[in-house]
């Protein structure tokens, strides 16, 4: 057979067409999804504004200026000032850094835990019972009291180890991460259960592919869609949980701006200076919407059955 094929010009290695690269295909499909492109542009703009903005609009978000309190928008203060004369624009940008970072890192953590537990429970029958009961346990836990206890117990140790801001950041990300992985785990487990009975998984086993490579090569790429959906919802959830924690006084210190914090502080002054609520609220909404559309486009782009069209 090999002798024949060597002489067959169609099989000559030199004439093999360029292999299509997976990520090239994904990118070209992603670009055809208008919503996803708009979402990606919005998300990138918000990230840029939050990272680069403070170097352009150099007002210190913490600086008090009582004489200029409760101002409307002006050139000096594009989003006005709050009741202590702090610049809202600077605060939104500074708060965005923390909120986005918390959202993304907490989402990644909960996604990792949820996917790992879901795949292990679905794939290995022996682990299914214990891991799913653990998931039920976490779902049944009353979250707020749990958060209170965790933060009470560990806040001071972490603060002394990493400094007040990093310490509380690690704590919040961890707390949000380990209390939001359960939905992902359940969805992933269900998908893995159906996938592992599919013939292509049996085929991989008959080839002699070890379980870890069956999981990475055949199972994980096929559960990508529900994971993507969980991820996009997870960012929104994390940002909002963080603001709830800040509101309860358990998050970042009160003078440390985050989007959630700004929103709650501004709520009391809604009639006087509505811009204090509108801007952080808009930032949260745009981020969540942008990420959702991005996830939608990415999910379609990663599925070869949709990609061909």
């Amino acid at each position: 057979m090999s002798d024949e094929s060597m002489s067959n010009p169609a099989l000559a290695t030199e004439e093999m067409p360029e292999r299509r690269s997976l990520w090239g295909d994904v990118w070209s499909q992603f670009r055809t999804h208008k919503g996803a492109m708009v979402g990606a542009v919005v998300f990138v703009l918000i990230c840029l504004a939050v990272v680069v903005g403070p170097y352009i609009h150099t007002l210190d978000p913490q600086r008090l200026d009582i004489l200029n309190k409760n101002l409307g928008p002006s050139w000096a203060h594009p989003m006005g000032t709050d009741n202590l004369g702090r610049d809202t624009f600077a605060q939104v940008m500074a708060g965005g850094r923390v909120s986005l970072l918390v959202g993304v890192v907490a989402m990644l953590l909960s996604l990792f835990v949820g996917t790992a537990i879901g795949v292990l429970a679905g794939f290995f029958k022996k682990l299914d019972g214990p891991l799913m009961r653990l998931t039920d346990l976490f779902l049944a836990l009353p979250l707020l009291p749990l958060l209170l206890v965790i933060i009470m117990l560990f806040r001071d140790t972490l603060r002394s180890m990493f400094g007040p801001e990093t310490g509380i950041f690690i704590l919040i990300v961890f707390v949000i991460g380990i209390t939001s992985w359960m939905q992902t785990a359940r969805i992933v487990r269900g998908d893995v259960l159906t996938l592992k009975e599919q013939e292509f998984v049996v085929a991989a086993r008959s080839i002699g592919t070890p379980s870890r490579r069956i999981i990475s090569r055949h199972i994980l790429p096929n559960v990508l869609s529900p994971i993507m959906v969980s991820a996009t919802l997870g960012i929104a959830n994390a940002i909002i949980t963080e603001s709830a924690l800040s509101f309860l006084g358990l998050g970042f210190p009160s003078d440390f701006p985050t989007w959630g914090r700004l929103l709650y502080d501004g709520a009391n002054f809604m009639q006087l200076t509505p811009s204090r609520v509108i801007w952080p609220g808009l930032a949260i909404s745009l981020t969540v919407l942008g990420v959702n559309y991005m996830g939608d486009g990415l999910r379609d782009a990663l599925d070869p059955r949709i990609r061909g069209r």
Binding site: M1, S2, S5, N8, A10, L11, T13, M16, P17, R19, R20, Q198, E199, F200, V202, A203, A204, R205, S206, I207, G208, T209, P210, R213, R217, H218, P221, N222, L302, D303, P304, R305, R307, G308
Partner: protein
């Protein structure tokens, strides 16, 4: 070379002795085992090198389970499977992984047997990734050769499975099974999901490949006419047990077991005059549940010639003259 080939063809490829595959049934709060499904119950046969053994039987009689248990995709409850002198059932871990290069499987459902997220090239190259140390370029070259060997354009390697028809996907599955140059292939109803015109193409391809690569097939099917075309010897299965095994000519010309007779009488005759006088043996009743098989002969509840002995004693699997095997009290 020819002499060598002829002596080789007499060699035993696969020897199955007393293979059983029972699935436990659990019920209730404490998950107590309340019984077991005897999907495959004490079957024995052998396949010679280069031969095709057809395995026929109705839906749910354990054909596919038997095929999968042979390849140790299930851990058999008992019995021995020897592939080319090696006991497959006793192997574990790395030894089992190594012997998988000698035995491969072609699957029934061409929609489900290819990973929708992998390109055809990487699907065919997966066995090479697992078992060889070829460079990436060599693997690609090999995958293209295999595509060519199963009659497909090598440039299709960059496409995804959903872009192909059922027959083409089945060819891709065959190319994957051939990648490691196995000695023995279990074809698990490879043509059941295909159109009749495509069925013939795939069966011819399987026959050509068998000649080129000296392959040994276990061909599982419920299509009696297709089995007649491809198989050298045919085994008939009913409710987890083999009832008759004979060469193709023997089986189709003079079936001995009453179940085989009934099965063959159901094959339609192309000649309308003969079709008009064809006598069908209609079996009464349904197939009993494999969780609760009848005592004695499994077929005794539906057998037209069953005697009192058949309800009591399980018939032994015995050899008749001419290399045929049967499990029936009534056949002498």
């Amino acid at each position: 070379m020819a002499a060598l080939a002829s002596t080789e063809s007499l060699q035993l490829m696969l020897q199955v002795t007393g293979l059983s595959m029972h699935f436990p049934v659990y019920k209730g709060l404490m998950r107590r085992q309340i019984g077991e499904i005897k999907a495959v119950d004490d079957i024995s046969f052998h396949i010679m090198r280069g031969e095709t053994l057809g395995l026929v039987g109705e839906s749910g009689c354990g054909k596919s389970t038997a095929g999968r248990a042979l390849l140790k995709l299930y851990q058999p409850t008992s019995g021995r499977v020897e592939l080319d002198g090696t006991d497959v059932t006793a192997l574990e871990g790395e030894d089992l992984r190594r012997i998988r290069t000698d035995m491969q499987m072609i699957f029934q459902d061409p929609q489900a047997c290819l990973n929708p997220r992998m390109t055809v090239g990487s699907i065919i190259a997966e066995p090479l990734d697992e078992h060889t140390r070829l460079s990436r370029r060599q693997k690609r070259q090999k995958a293209r050769e295999l595509l060519d060997a199963v009659g497909m354009n090598p440039d299709y390697e960059n496409r995804y499975p959903h872009e192909f028809s059922g027959g083409q996907r089945q060819r891709i599955g065959i190319a994957r099974a051939l990648a490691l140059e196995p000695k023995f292939i279990v074809c698990d109803e490879p043509i059941a999901a295909l159109d009749v015109s495509i069925q013939a193409q795939v069966v011819n391809l399987l026959e050509d490949l068998q000649q080129q690569h000296q392959l040994t097939y276990l061909f599982i099917s419920h299509d009696l006419s297709m089995v007649r075309h491809i198989a050298d010897r045919i085994a008939v299965m009913y409710l987890g047990k083999l009832v008759e095994l004979a060469s193709r000519e023997q089986l189709y010309q003079s079936p001995q077991h009453p179940y085989t007779k009934a099965l063959l009488s159901a094959v339609p005759e192309p000649d309308p005059e003969k079709e008009a006088i064809r006598e069908r043996i209609i079996l009464q009743g349904d197939v009993p549940s494999p969780a609760n098989p009848p005592s004695g002969c499994n077929f005794s509840t539906r057998c037209p010639i069953a005697q009192e002995q058949c309800m009591r004693e399980t018939p032994a699997w015995r050899e008749l003259e001419g290399g045929r095997y049967i499990a029936c009290h009534m056949v002498q």
